[in-house]
Symmetry: C2
Subunit: 241 residues, 2 copies
């Protein structure tokens, strides 16, 4: 498994001192996720179930929201999460596949992720939603480039529904709370580090399921980019990734 | 408070034996909820917060769903619940009012309802959603008749979004489970009786907030109709109301 820590460590090591075993002389070519051709059913089942799980977590976040304003925000994020889910279900239905059966194989990994990233309060829960939706929608958007062209545009449209507005709304609300409470800032920075590790495991599973022969080394640049995007998302909250 | 039990008792008593105190000789005219002119902000705040609370309960129901199929159904019901919520928020925004502030005054009654109607398992939770959404969307649709005509159509469209499909899907899934398990049938019939009492309290609060002078006696026929509709909804599950 590629973990966040090992990637950070490898990225930090200067390239010219990087050890390379003489027994592995092959050139590692840069890979884009769009170079993969994901199995459409597998791709859609994962992406749709992820949105369903995110909705479920948002329901819990709404329940523990500290104010009507934060509850309203949570409802707005859940609305677009379910709109994305619905768009992806429509694509599953187009293939003629059974919707629950198509999602079923992906439950274990995503349910496990969800159980570890619920968060202790609303701030942690909504940060989890922000980090997971940001990183994993990014992964699925990149993988979508390898889908048949008639599916590609509709899937990307579904994945992008409301995503930018959700991010802006969460950043605005969390930034206010963080700037008012330095202890919250340090707690959320720590929580963000935990979250990115767990989220990358789901990303890794999603990529592996789409392309069995995807090996860790060829994927390294992809993960480096995903982490860079995560770092930018944490930066916009004023938090160190 | 008008309770389900007192209404059932009064309805069961033959009209010609009905006692009427000599000190209260006035004729009780039949009232329609559409005769009331609800305050638009109060109406929208209640209706929108109700959908937000229903979404929250559905998030919990999704979490305890016994299968991917029932979880998928829960997601579909939550999707249209949040679509209704979003449509109502758009109406609040049109009035220029602040969305969370408009919903805030209605939290206590609805949160209390929600805490008493969570249900012990998915079957109870989804029945609660079916009973509450059915009865309360009915109340809000009737009250909408008293809204300014430019709001009326948009509000009714928002309230009706997906409602019929949700009912059909829940009835189909619950009926299967009920026919396979007589103990579930009797448990859900009991739970339905508890739910209708709690749901009518929310209905009563919604009507009272829309029309301060609404007295119990004039409203009795309205509640009788709401209960009759509830009985039909339970009938379609094969359950005695």
């Amino acid at each position: 498994m590629v973990s966040w820590k090992s990637l950070r460590a490898r990225r930090a090591r200067p390239a010219n001192t990087r050890p390379r075993a003489a027994s592995r002389p092959r050139v590692v070519s840069r890979v884009e996720l769009g170079d993969f051709t994901p199995d459409l059913d597998v791709y859609l089942g994962q992406a749709a179930y992820l949105q369903l799980a995110l909705f479920e977590s948002l329901g819990r976040a709404a329940h523990i929201a500290p104010s009507t304003r934060t509850k309203t925000l949570t409802g707005a994020v859940a609305t677009s999460t379910l709109e994305r889910h619905k768009g992806l279900l429509t694509e599953i239905e187009r293939t003629g596949a059974d919707v629950p059966e198509t999602m079923q194989p992906h439950r274990a990994v995503i349910d496990d992720f969800q159980s570890r990233t619920g968060g202790g309060d609303w701030y942690e829960s909504i940060l989890a939603s922000y980090v997971a939706a940001g990183l994993l929608n990014d992964v699925f958007s990149r993988l979508a480039a390898g889908l048949p062209s008639d599916s590609h545009d509709r899937v990307v449209t579904a994945l992008e529904t409301g995503a930018s507005d959700d991010e802006k709304a969460i950043v605005s609300e969390l930034s206010l709370a963080i700037s008012a409470d330095p202890r919250l800032a340090s707690r959320l920075a720590l929580w963000g580090r935990r979250l990115v590790g767990d989220t990358l495991l789901v990303a890794r599973a999603a990529i592996s399921a789409s392309h069995q022969s995807a090996d860790d080394e060829r994927l390294e640049p992809v993960f480096t980019e995903l982490i860079a995007a995560h770092t930018r998302r944490m930066d916009s909250l004023g938090l160190t990734a």
